[in-house]
C-alpha cells in the first residue's frame, strides 16, 4: 500500500511504551534520523494499532530540550539544583567507591534501591542483589498495586489478576478507571466492546469519573467505605443462595467460616447503608444482578485502595468473583502469572554462579519490619527508617525512574530524610525534584532509545521486545550500559562482558518457544491462554482458592475480611475528605514536561460538590486554599454535581506542582502530597493517600 510521503522510506522500530508500567507494544517510525510517528503494534491484541493519549504525546521525549544529557555531580546544597557536568568514567568511579565504602562501614543492606518497573530494571536489580548483596530492592508497588497484589496472593496464591471486560456481561468497577486512567489501551477497548455487546457497567465511585459517565449506573459512595458495601453484597449473595455452590465446594477453602463471619458481624445491607450512603435496596439489587448474570467481573485496583482499610476491602471485592465462580473463565476475573517480569518465562539477562552470589548480611527491611505478606517494602516508611537508623542504618539510595519526593505522601519528611543520607544516585531522563537532592545524576535513555525484553500484562503469556528507534541525546545511556559501567569499576566486569545487546537478550529468552529473530520481526510473542488454572491447584497453603486466608492468619491478621473505618475521618475543623483523581492525559510524574499536554490543561484543579461550593461561595475557576493539618495548597476549583458532598477531589494531584523536571512542568498547579501525612495499609504496606482531612476557603 502506498505510504504517505511523510512515512515513505521510514525505518520502523518495534518498541515497548514506557510512559506507564503497563507495557503496550508499539511501532516507532524514524525518517532521516528523526522520530516522526508512532502507533500501537497492529498485530498485538492489547494495542491493535492504538496507543493512549499519553503514549502518543510521549514522542516529545525524543525532542525535549530539557532532557538530561550528561552525568552530573552535585556542587550545591541538596535540593538547590546546582550540579556540574562530569564524565561517565568519573561518575562510575565515584559510585563504585561510595558503594564499597558504605558496604564496609554499614553492610550492603544500607543501600536501598527504588525503581519503577518500566524496563531494563533486571540489570541493576540483579547487580545490586546478586553481586553487591543488598536485599533492599523495591519498586513502586506501595504507591500502586500493593493492595491488589497482596489480596490476589492471599486468595489465589501466586497469581495476579486481569479483568476480561470484553467477554463479560456484568462489570462492576470499584474506584478504578479504565477510561480516565487507561492502562493498556486494549483493556479500555475491551470495556467499550462489552458495552457494545450489551453488558451492564456499574461504577462505584465517590466521583462521576470518565468511567462512571459511561456506566449504566453510577453508585456514589462515601470514600473509603467500599469494603462495607462489598461485604454486604457477599452476605446477600450467600443468604439468598445465589453463590456458585459447585465451584465453591470443589475449588474454594473457608466458605462456611466466611458465611458465619458475615452473620456474626452483622454485615447486612442495612448496616452498610449507614456507612456507605448507598441504600440497602441498591446494595441488594446490585448483589442479585451481579450474582445472576454470567459471566460477571468485580474489579478494583489502586484508586480504591488509598485507605488504611484497603486490604480487607480489596479482598471483599475480589471474593465477590470467587463466590459467584467468576474466576479464570472468559468474561471473568482472569488469573495471570505475577507481573513485573519477575517470574518465568523470562530469565535474568546475566548469570552469576551459585558460589559467587553475595551473601545476604541482614534480612530486608520489609521482612525485618514485619511486612511478610506485602510484595514490597512500604516505601512510605523509608524516611523514618533513614532518619532513625532503625531497624538498621540506611545510608544510600539508588533511584531509577522514580521521584519519591513528589510521588509519596508527606513531602517534607522525605526531603528531611534525603538530607540525612550519605549518598544518593538518580537515574532519570529529567532533573526531577528527587534528582535535585541527589549526589550523582545519570542521564537515562528513554524507551525509544534502548533495547529491552519484558513480560507483557496479559492473560496468555506474552513477551515484548524493544529496540532503539533513535540514539539517546547527548551522552545519555540505557540502564544496561550504566550498570555495566558501575559493575566494571567494582570488579564485576566478567558478568557484563556482552558484545552486543543480543547476547543478554538471548539469555533472557533461553528455553522459550520462540527466537530473538521472531521477537524482532513481530515485536512480541504470545502463547496460548490457559483458563481455570485453579483446577490443577494453586500455590496457596491449602492449594485452593482461599476465602479464608491461611497466609493472612499466619501473618497475624484476620483471615476473613472485615470492615474497619478509614483511619482519618473529617471532623468539625477539617470537614472534607481529600481524594485523588486522574486526568486521562497525564501519567503520574512522567508526562508533565510535554507541551502538547500542558496545552490541554495548564494546571490541575479541585472538584467540589455544588452544595458545598455554595456554602463557601466557591465558583468554577476560583482559586481555593485547601488546608490539611500538615500544609496548604492553592488550586483552581471546579464545581460539579458529579461528586459526593463532603469530598474534595484533587485531579492529578501528584503530577502537578513540579518545581523541577523541566521548563514546561515547573510551577503549574498544586501538589497533593504535601498535605498528606504518612498512613499505610498495615498488611499490604500500600500508601493510604486518601487518609486526609482538609478544610477549604476561597483564596
Amino acid at each position: 500500500m502506498e505510504m504517505p510521503e511523510k512515512l515513505s522510506g521510514a525505518k520502523v522500530a518495534k518498541s515497548i511504551c514506557g510512559v506507564c508500567p503497563f507495557r503496550c507494544s508499539i511501532e516507532a517510525y524514524v525518517k532521516d534520523g528523526k522520530l516522526i510517528y508512532t502507533r500501537g503494534n497492529p498485530e498485538n491484541p492489547n494495542t491493535k494499532g492504538k496507543r493512549c493519549v499519553k503514549g502518543f504525546a510521549s514522542i516529545w521525549f525524543a525532542y525535549d530540550p530539557d532532557r538530561l544529557k550528561y552525568p552530573l555531580m552535585r556542587i550545591g546544597e541538596r535540593g538547590e539544583g546546582k550540579f556540574k557536568r562530569i564524565s561517565w568514567d568519573e561518575a562510575f568511579t565515584i559510585i563504585a567507591e561510595k558503594l564499597k565504602e558504605i558496604k564496609e562501614k554499614y553492610g550492603p543492606e544500607a543501600v536501598v534501591s527504588l525503581d519503577h518497573v518500566q524496563g531494563c530494571t533486571w540489570h541493576y536489580k540483579n547487580f545490586l542483589y546478586l553481586l553487591y548483596g543488598t536485599p533492599n530492592i523495591y519498586d513502586h508497588t506501595a504507591a500502586c498495586d500493593g493492595t491488589f497484589t497482596t489480596a490476589c496472593i492471599s486468595i489465589f496464591g501466586s497469581f495476579w489478576g486481569i479483568e476480561d471486560y470484553a467477554n463479560s456481561k456484568y462489570i462492576l468497577i470499584w474506584g478504578k478507571e479504565p477510561f480516565e486512567a487507561p492502562r493498556i489501551v486494549g483493556f479500555l477497548q475491551g470495556l467499550m466492546e462489552a458495552k457494545d455487546k450489551g453488558a451492564k457497567l456499574v461504577v462505584v465511585n465517590p466521583r462521576l469519573s470518565k468511567t462512571a459517565e459511561k456506566a449504566d449506573e453510577w453508585i456514589p459512595i462515601k470514600p473509603g467505605t467500599d469494603g462495607a458495601m462489598a461485604l454486604a453484597m457477599a452476605k446477600t449473595i450467600i443468604d439468598e443462595e445465589l453463590y456458585d455452590r459447585d465451584f465453591i465446594e470443589k475449588y474454594c477453602y473457608g466458605f462456611d467460616e466466611f458465611r458465619r463471619h458475615l452473620e456474626e458481624k452483622g454485615y447486612t445491607p442495612e448496616w452498610a447503608e449507614g456507612i456507605t450512603g448507598v441504600s440497602a435496596s441498591t446494595i441488594r439489587r446490585i448483589a442479585r444482578e451481579f450474582a445472576t448474570t454470567k459471566p460477571a467481573v468485580s474489579s478494583a485496583y489502586h484508586g480504591f485502595a488509598c485507605y488504611t482499610n484497603a486490604f480487607d476491602a480489596m479482598r471483599a471485592v475480589l471474593l465477590l468473583n470467587v463466590l459467584t465462580g467468576n474466576v479464570d473463565k472468559p468474561g471473568s476475573f482472569l488469573l495471570v502469572g505475577s507481573p513485573g517480569g519477575l517470574e518465568p518465562p523470562l530469565k535474568p539477562p546475566f548469570r552469576v554462579p551459585e558460589d559467587k552470589i553475595a551473601k545476604i548480611n541482614k534480612p530486608s527491611l520489609r521482612e525485618t519490619l514485619g511486612f511478610v505478606l506485602a510484595p514490597d517494602f512500604p516505601t512510605a516508611l523509608l524516611p523514618k527508617v533513614i532518619l532513625e537508623g532503625k531497624p538498621y542504618p540506611v545510608r544510600a539510595l539508588i533511584l531509577s525512574q522514580v521521584n519519591p519526593i513528589m510521588s509519596d505522601a508527606n513531602t517534607k519528611l522525605w526531603i528531611e530524610a534525603f538530607k540525612a543520607l550519605d549518598f544518593i544516585v538518580a537515574i532519570d531522563i529529567y532533573l526531577s525534584e528527587t534528582a535535585m537532592y541527589c549526589d550523582i545524576v545519570l542521564p537515562d535513555a528513554c524507551y525509544f532509545e534502548r533495547y529491552d525484553i519484558l513480560q507483557g500484562f496479559n492473560h496468555a503469556p506474552m513477551v515484548l521486545y524493544s529496540e532503539p528507534a533513535i540514539p539517546p541525546p547527548g551522552e545519555a545511556k540505557p540502564i544496561y550500559e550504566i550498570v555495566r559501567g558501575i559493575a566494571e569499576k567494582m570488579g564485576y566486569g566478567e558478568y557484563f562482558n556482552w558484545k552486543s545487546e543480543e547476547d543478554w537478550m538471548r539469555n533472557m529468552i533461553e528455553g522459550l518457544p520462540f527466537t530473538l529473530e521472531d521477537l524482532k520481526q513481530k515485536g512480541f510473542w504470545i502463547g496460548e491462554p490457559q483458563y481455570k488454572k485453579y483446577e490443577s491447584g494453586l500455590k496457596t497453603p491449602t492449594g485452593k482458592i482461599e476465602i479464608y486466608s491461611v497466609l493472612v492468619e499466619v501473618a497475624g491478621y484476620n483471615p476473613l475480611p472485615e470492615y474497619k473505618p478509614p483511619a482519618v475521618m473529617p471532623d468539625e475543623k477539617y470537614p472534607f475528605r481529600l481524594i485523588s483523581a486522574r486526568m486521562p492525559f497525564q501519567s503520574n510524574l512522567v508526562t508533565q514536561n510535554i507541551p502538547m499536554l500542558a496545552d490541554i490543561e495548564g494546571e490541575n484543579w479541585a472538584e467540589i460538590n455544588s452544595k458545598d461550593a455554595e456554602k463557601y461561595g466557591i465558583k468554577t475557576g476560583d482559586y481555593i486554599i485547601i488546608e490539611s493539618p500538615l500544609d496548604s495548597i492553592t488550586v483552581k476549583a471546579k464545581v460539579t454535581e458529579g461528586i459526593v458532598p463532603g469530598v474534595v477531589a484533587l485531579v492529578h494531584g501528584f503530577g502537578f506542582g513540579h518545581w523541577g523536571m523541566g521548563k514546561v512542568a515547573k510551577g503549574r498547579g498544586a501538589h497533593i502530597n504535601r498535605l498528606i501525612d504518612t498512613h499505610i495499609d498495615p498488611v499490604s504496606g500500600t500508601i493510604a493517600y486518601n487518609e486526609c482531612k482538609v478544610r477549604v476557603r476561597k483564596a
Binding site: G49, F56, I59, F179, E213, D599
Partner: protein
Amino acid sequence: MSSTRKGFFVDLDRCIKCHACEIACRVWNGINVPSYRTIIEIESGTYPFVERTNVSIACMHCEEAYCMAACPAKAIYKREDGVVLVDSEKCLGCRLCSWACPFGAPKYGSDLKMQKCTFCNDRPDWMPRACEEACPTGAIVAGTISYLEKIIKERKVKRIASQIKGKRAFMYILP
C-alpha cells in the same frame, strides 16, 4: 454528490474526553501548529442524577461551509470530495471565518493565518485520519457520508456530533 462527500461524526456515547485525537492530530500535523481539535464536556442534572457528554470537535467539512462564505479573500475552498481547505497564500488573517464557524474550527498559527483540520490530506485513503486512528473507543469516524451513515446504522448510534445533515445544529439525537 452528498454521499461521496467526506466528513466526520463523533459518537457521543463513546467519547471519553481523553484527548488522544487532539494529540495524535498535533503529532501528525506538527507539534508547533495550534491544536485543530477541541474537546468539550457538558454536565447536566443534579447530584446524584448527573450526566456528562463529551464532544471532540474539529472542522466538520460542512456541506455549506459558513467559513467559505465569510472569507473576503476567497482563501477557503472546497475540494471535490467535500474537504474544506484554506490557501494560506491568500489568507489575510482577518479571522472573519472564526466568527462564522459554529464549531470554532479555524485556528491561527504564529504567522497569524488561519489553519485547521485538513482531513489529513497528506494521508492516502486507505489510512485512517490521525484522530480516528488514535481514538481508543472508536468515537471518531471519518469517511464518505454514505460510509458514515452505514456505521451509524450498524452501531445503532443514538447521539452524534456531525454535519452529515442539517446546516447549523451539530448535535443530533437520531431516531
